[in-house]
């Protein structure tokens, strides 16, 4: 893993202005993510983690501060996002959904076809390529979303709680699939979740956030060697301790925001 900085966020603040109650969603967020690093943002709901991701995704503008994503080649898009459960477009077939980013960039047909087929096969959806999403389960839809983002071959990947709506079994399977695709491509990933287990399993580093306003509270390194399994994470004594630290943090944050 090289040590160069891939994502650099400097003092980003976002305020949602309303005449009577403006909300500071995130405040003075500064964060640097290295090339090839898998970082999870963990925080109570409403802590502005989605807002930060949407700013990086170009869907919102920061109120102040700035961020840069290091670009290696002009041909690559800067970022692609894996959306929450409903991000798959229902009027496009599985194949068209996976090819969406490539088509929007008007790449040559053969390139699109090749890249699409590769990732369809990676996520095990080749035989469903001509179907519409309505015919697929929630887990399969999220596979489409993941394949679409990887197929686009961006500089960095942003993931907004992609597995939150799945049942436990599907979640485990998809987490492992994600790790296996990720280890092949070594993309830089910023991943949002509120599941501590998920963060410990997936990430190199966990960023803990507080709510109202969303600020970075703490950083936790996850030194477990890869490839990892859930059993390893659970069996690791140090991780059990980290789990408690994060758990207590979230508990106190939720309590605090209730008052």
């Amino acid at each position: 893993m090289s040590e160069s900085i891939k994502i650099s966020i400097d003092n980003v603040t976002k305020i949602f202005y309303k005449k009577h109650n403006s909300v500071t969603a995130i405040k003075d967020i500064s964060l640097q993510i290295k090339e090839g690093e898998f970082v999870c943002l963990v925080g109570p709901s409403g802590c502005g983690k989605s807002t930060l991701l949407r700013i990086l995704a170009g869907l919102e503008l920061p109120s102040s501060g700035e961020f840069t994503i290091a670009s290696e080649s002009d041909e690559r898009p800067l970022q692609s996002m894996v959306f929450q459960e409903k991000g798959v477009i229902p009027w496009l077939t599985v194949e068209e959904n996976v090819a969406f980013g490539l088509k929007m960039r008007h790449l040559p047909k053969e390139v699109i076809q090749k890249q699409t087929n590769y990732y369809l096969q990676k996520v095990g959806l080749s035989q469903f390529s001509k179907l519409y999403p309505k015919e697929l389960s929630g887990g399969m839809k999220q596979r489409i979303s993941i394949a679409r983002a990887f197929a686009n071959d961006p500089e960095i990947l942003l993931m907004d709680e992609p597995f939150a709506a799945l049942d436990e079994q599907n979640k485990f399977i998809l987490q492992e699939e994600l790790l296996s695709i990720w280890s092949e491509t070594k993309k830089t990933v910023l991943f949002i979740t509120h599941s501590i287990d998920e963060a410990l399993l997936l990430s190199d580093r966990i960023i803990l956030m507080s709510a109202h306003p969303g600020e970075i509270m703490k950083e936790i390194k996850v030194p477990i060697p890869r490839p990892r399994t859930m059993e390893q994470v659970r069996a690791n004594a140090e991780m059990a301790e980290q789990f408690l630290t994060i758990w207590n943090h979230l508990q106190s944050e939720v309590q605090r925001s209730r008052k």
């Binding site: 170009g58 009027w91 496009l92 960039r105 309505k134």
Partner: protein
């Protein structure tokens, strides 16, 4: 079916098969009811006319109307009226639907356009196009084109309103996906806005179709020298009620046909629903 210790056990597969067959019979019965109901009404009408319960001068029996229907076909008169009306409906329908869809999409996508045009639509919609027929005839003449314009005017409003609603109802996340993956304005229009609005848009087109039929008959009654509406109106004035009923039945038949056609089209072009 087996017999064990005196207890009769049924094969579960067979039980479910029996159940399934019962369901099938019920389904077929429902379909039968749908076909029977119009025939049933026609039969009652026939009996009442034949026995004198209904005044035969105002309600000629369906069999007599059927006879007139064949006479009109044989003389070629029916074909002339029907083809003229169908041409006007088709032309007027397209002339209303196409601008309706385009303006509706633009209004749905661009808020300034929406805010500029909506008050005009709200102001013009309540005016029945038929009430404007005299002016339309002054401008476009007594020929086919004035009828085409009248239909287009009636069809336009439900289509434009439903298209705007269709665009506004597209889930926000699809717009985000398009933006995040760098869709150009053209791709955004063709790949997101149009297909996303299509289901609701088609509801509007369905309504427009019904309105087109209502409008053509009334317009031809008021100012035309041919067409189904003209046939109904002149037959009525000449007290040829059998001919009038033929016209009414034809309108009803085409309404039914168009609805079926559009429903089929809907399944074809919105397969993802």
């Amino acid at each position: 079916m087996r017999d064990e210790k005196g207890v009769v056990l049924f094969d579960p597969y067979e039980t479910e098969q029996q159940e399934w067959k019962k369901q099938q019979v019920k389904e077929r019965f429902k379909q039968l009811l749908t076909i029977i109901s119009p025939l049933f009404i026609l039969m009652i009408w026939e009996i009442c006319s034949q026995t004198g319960i209904l005044d035969i001068r105002f309600f000629p029996p369906p069999t007599a109307i059927l006879g007139t229907f064949f006479d009109l076909i044989a003389s070629g008169e029916l074909f002339k009226h029907v083809s003229v009306s169908l041409y006007r409906i088709a032309a007027g329908f397209l002339l209303g639907v196409i601008p309706g869809v385009i303006i509706g999409l633009l209004m749905g996508l661009y808020a300034p356009i929406r805010h500029f045009i909506s008050p005009l639509i709200m102001a013009f919609m309540p005016i029945p196009t038929l009430a404007l027929l005299p002016i339309i005839i002054i401008i476009f003449g007594i020929g086919d084109f004035s009828k085409v314009v009248t239909i287009a005017g009636s069809v336009f409003f439900p289509v434009v309103i439903n298209t705007v609603a269709g665009v506004l109802n597209i889930e926000r996340v699809y717009l985000d996906v398009a933006k995040n993956y760098g869709a150009s304005p053209k791709d955004f229009f063709m790949k997101i806005a149009f297909p996303g609005a299509l289901p609701v848009m088609l509801e509007g087109i369905q309504m427009g179709q019904a309105i087109a039929l209502l409008t053509i008959v009334a317009a031809e009654m008021m100012g035309a020298t041919s067409g189904i509406g003209y046939l109904i109106w002149t037959s009525y004035k000449a007290f040829m009620l059998k001919e009038m009923f033929v016209g009414l039945v034809i309108i009803s038949f085409f309404g039914f046909l168009f609805s079926l056609f559009l429903r089929g089209l809907q399944k074809k072009i919105v397969p993802w629903r």
